[in-house]
Symmetry: C2
Subunit: 104 residues, 2 copies
DNA sequence: AGAACGCTTGGCCATATAGCCAAATAAATA
DNA sequence: TATTTATTTGGCTATATGGCCAAGCGTTCT
């Protein structure tokens, strides 16, 4: 690249869409669970403890954002993490939280 | 620690709050700008191109989440990044986006 | 084929968020 | 002290999001 490319408005919108998909406690929980291996929707429903349709919508959102991918096998649909780097977010998030608690 | 501590529901909520504060294009833009050094609110208004009150509210949100801190000097209030690790998110976000574009 | 299972989709309601304008506050300057 | 400058806060509206229930769809099992 010849020039330092300024980050365009649309880039921030695209990034924000991905961030948004991660910005929900249930979805973060599902992601942590998926980091241990693929899971079917019903597994995640048991974990999340909310309606199956709600879980399904959360997963559709994550899929649309590019975070997870799904595969139908038999009666079940299995989801797995597609971009493991999102797991690094957790460490940073926790450091934000401890930093905030430390200084207020 | 004797036991692997299971991540509690409240932990996910706390993390999600931080993620939420990052899940907006304008706020991501402001964070990238702040990564180059501290900026006053008016600098960021020029960058974001929206109402000053809107910018101020975005910053208050980031501050509440623990991402930025502020300091009043003279007439201006200067904001700076408090947790540089959030910048690592950008690389991951972009890799999510390219991965998504590659495979659909 | 019909019933059962696993999941997704549509519809609806309640709540949360983003934006602007106007008013309030705080500090610097006249 | 009065005025201007820089920012925050309150109030409002429009839109987005999350949740449930009910209905739909594709597989598997009988």
């Amino acid at each position: 690249m010849l020039f330092p490319i300024p980050t365009a408005k649309t880039d921030f919108e695209a990034r924000a869409k991905v961030m948004k998909s991660l910005a929900h406690p249930t979805r973060l929980m599902m992601i942590e669970e998926l980091s241990r291996g693929e899971r079917c929707v019903c597994d995640l429903r048991d974990l999340a403890g909310c309606d199956l349709s709600t879980v399904s919508k959360h997963l559709a959102l994550l899929k649309d954002a590019g975070i997870v991918e799904d595969e139908k096998r038999g009666k079940q649909v299995y989801y797995r993490l597609r971009v493991p780097c999102v797991l690094n977010f957790f460490h940073c998030l926790d450091s934000v939280l401890t930093a905030r608690d430390r200084l207020g």
